[in-house]
Amino acid sequence: MRATAETIDIQEILNRKARRKDLLRNIIPFSGLVFIFVFFTVVTQGKMLSSSNLTNLISQCFSVTIVAAGASFVYAHGGMDFSIGPSCGVAQLVAALIITRSDLPIWLAIAACILVTVVTSTMVGATSAYLRVPVFVVSLCMRAICSGILTVGIAESDIAIDYARFSGFNSEVLKAVVLLVVIGVSYYLFEYTSLGKYEKAMGGNVVTAFQAGVVVKRTQIAAYTLMGLCVGIAGFFQLTRTAGVTGGSGSGLEFDIMVAIVLGGFPMMGGSAARLRSVIIGALTITILSNGLVLWGLDYLLVNGVKGLLFLIIVAITYDRTNQNQMNFTSA
């Protein structure tokens, strides 16, 4: 039997369907972002677009986006880190202590802030890689350690720094520049260098990556170090904005990142479908959502609950449940 006109037609239809599915997968997160933006602009009668709120939005999306860019390397290889919130808090604590208790220059405080998160994140990655403990467990332990340190650090009282002295760090221009640089560098590393490609390959099949000569442990740890770097940068800006350290410093960051990952259509288990733009879109979406909900009149204390619910719904819809065994069976 030859390929008749009819069979060619059916093939054409199937190809078109597959292309449409691909297109949809790419478009849904983006249109979700646009929808949420328009929706909240309408229901808040334009409050969303007021200049004071836009300023707010920029600084809110600033930390989530920067951290998400770094986290994409971790999630791309199938990793995760629950410790970034508390470790961000500790980094702010250390920086605040340097600023308030010593005469050391500001750049040293910044360096210390970044160093703290780089060290904690790298330790999470390295411990998991070398001791062969699931990163989930290691990062929970690191989370507990960091929360402990933060609690002790502010046991006597919250630490306040002089807001006026650091107002330069709150300029939107500086933030926009830092944001663009971080996104640009991450994008390059993620999409155009071995680092990003290896992370994705490991997320796809770590055995294959290893046998192709990828130094798996080093690549894994590099992702955590990079994320730590981003957390540290975000941490210092947060410190200057809130002008102090409290028990809540940095908290919720890891969850915001996870929601950003799923909202943007970034695969939770990493792999080939991971795109940096997905996390950026996700980060913007989650920021606008949190901001919009509060503007709309939702009690700030309830925002986290709503995020949790949303997270569950999106994961339930998008989670890739086909494991490789099943694949083999159905496509054999």
């Binding site: 039997m1 199937l14 597959a18 294959t208 192709a212």
Partner: protein
């Protein structure tokens, strides 16, 4: 017995079955053949209720038949022994056999394990595997015994139609004979068998009729007197293939230069193993599956670290201590477990092909351009004739043979000099097989060195300059290339 009417099925944009019509008579042993991706397993699993057709219908014993799941199909009298389903670990043989049917042994919420064990023992006895004890934990059985348990599971409901999907590839002599006996018995009881296999000789000896599938279409159905290996082969591939596809020369020469040396390597079952691989040599390594040859491949490439001894690349005197060092020194490794180890199924052809070649593609600041990746990939797609839409296609959508080509492509694109191939033609069809053999011959001519680990004796005899035969982790014999080597001679050494 069974009438298949216009069955169609698609996976995404890939059409697995296109309007398949087929009739299986009572008492008939029907063979089903086709290259990988031709749709035979898909058809079998739809008949057995493991998947659904997009359109079309079945008639079983004159009545419409539309199974909702495998147990449902079994209750209608259709059972299947699946290619790679496996057993459930952690529970007993008997529990495995009666998986999904425990209600039949349940009274007031309690399972009568005694009755299950008794029935399982009877069943195993019936199929000629009385030595497998029903209360044994499945984990304690070896691979072949587990496969036999699967056969028992298929026989639970006393099927009228038994579907055997490439089961014999996993079975050694004993298991095969058991299965053949079973098939003959079903035939005598006027029941039917649908038999799927890659082994054309096997098919010829047991089947009454053979249906050939190609690209999801029924090409032909051969009656007993029309069946011949050449006929089946050319129908499957769609063009004439010459009788032999191995190397035609018997010049087993290679350079004296040693490129890779293993010295007193102990790892797993391997004991103090020595090996020298020369430039331009195809070194065959053969034996039974658990003789240590697969371990040898892993140690040579640095995947497993040997307990004693070392593997050395002679050119720069470098020790192969991990795959990173190996790939850096232009070594390649094709794993026996293709889907699990050698390929990223959810990634594109391009991502797979480029993966080991980053070092060559890197420019300033570590930049790897899209264009350099695409060029490398397209060149390989062209030379290896990988059947795909383009380099962006996801590997999961490819057929087995084409996936294997992708695995080869990634190492050829890197221009590897030393290739460790573990069962390079496992589970791929004749057309691709022939291409692989031709490729190996070309690589040898270019002065590359190949270690070919294989469980297939004709392949070892047909391709190797030298054959190392292993048994229980030790070297048993070394044979030089010659037209006189027979399979019988080899079997003597390895069993």
């Amino acid at each position: 017995m069974l009438t298949v009417k216009k069955i169609s099925k698609a996976f995404g944009p890939t059409r697995a079955l296109i309007d398949v019509d087929m009739e299986i008579r009572r008492g008939e042993i029907r063979g089903l053949i086709g290259e990988n991706g031709s749709g035979k397993s898909t058809l079998a699993s739809i008949i057995a209720g493991a998947q659904f057709a997009d359109s079309g219908s079945f008639e079983l014993k004159g009545k419409p038949y539309a199974p909702r799941n495998m147990v449902g199909a079994q209750n209608h009298g259709v059972s299947m022994i699946i290619q790679e389903m496996g057993t459930i670990p952690g529970i007993t043989v008997a529990a495995n056999i009666f998986t999904g049917r425990l209600e039949e042994f349940t009274r007031f919420g309690f399972i009568n394990m005694k009755a299950i064990n008794r029935r399982a023992a009877e069943l195993l006895q019936e199929i000629g595997a009385g030595d497998i004890h029903p209360e044994t934990l499945i984990n304690r059985l070896n691979f072949e015994e587990r496969k036999i348990v699967e056969i028992a599971r298929a026989m639970v409901a006393n099927p009228d139609l038994l579907i055997v999907d490439e089961t014999t590839t996993a079975l050694a002599q004993r298991g095969r004979e058991l299965l053949y006996r079973l098939i003959r018995r079903l035939h005598e009881e006027n029941k039917s068998v649908l038999f799927i296999s890659h082994d054309l000789h096997e098919l010829m000896s047991i089947c009454d009729t053979i249906t050939v599938l190609r690209d999801g279409i029924v090409i032909d159905t051969l009656e007993k007197e029309e069946i011949s290996v050449d006929r089946m082969r050319s129908l499957m591939v769609g063009r004439e293939l010459s009788g032999s596809y191995f190397r035609s020369d018997y010049d087993g020469s290679y350079s004296d230069e040693v490129v890779l040396e293993a010295k007193r390597v102990t790892s797993g079952i391997l004991e103090e193993f020595n090996l020298e691989l020369h430039k331009g040599e195809i070194l065959g390594v053969g034996g039974l599956s658990d003789c240590g040859m697969h371990e040898l491949g892993r140690v040579l490439f640095g995947i497993d670290k040997p307990i004693t001894g070392s593997v050395t690349l002679k050119k720069n005197n470098v020790q192969v201590k991990d795959p990173h060092v190996a790939t850096k020194n232009n070594m390649a490794y094709v794993s026996k477990e293709r889907d699990r180890e050698a390929i990223i199924l959810n990634a594109s052809i391009k991502e797979n092909v480029v993966l080991p070649s980053h070092r060559q593609l890197r420019k300033v600041l570590g930049l790897i351009t899209r264009r350099s990746e695409t060029n490398l990939t397209n060149k390989q797609i062209e030379t290896l004739r990988i059947k795909c839409r383009n380099g962006k296609q996801i590997c999961n959508e490819l057929s087995g043979g084409n996936k294997q080509k992708v695995v080869f492509a990634k190492w050829l694109g890197k221009e590897s000099d030393i290739l460790i191939l573990d069962c390079p033609t496992r589970g791929i069809d004749v057309g691709v097989k022939a291409a692989m053999y031709k490729l190996m011959t070309e690589l040898k001519a270019q002065g590359k060195s190949i270690v070919m680990i294989s469980e297939e004796l004709p392949e070892l005899i047909g391709m190797s300059d030298r054959i190392l035969l292993l048994k229980n982790g030790r070297l048993q014999a070394e044979l030089r290339r010659s037209p006189d080597i027979s399979e019988k001679q080899i079997i003597q050494y390895i069993i």
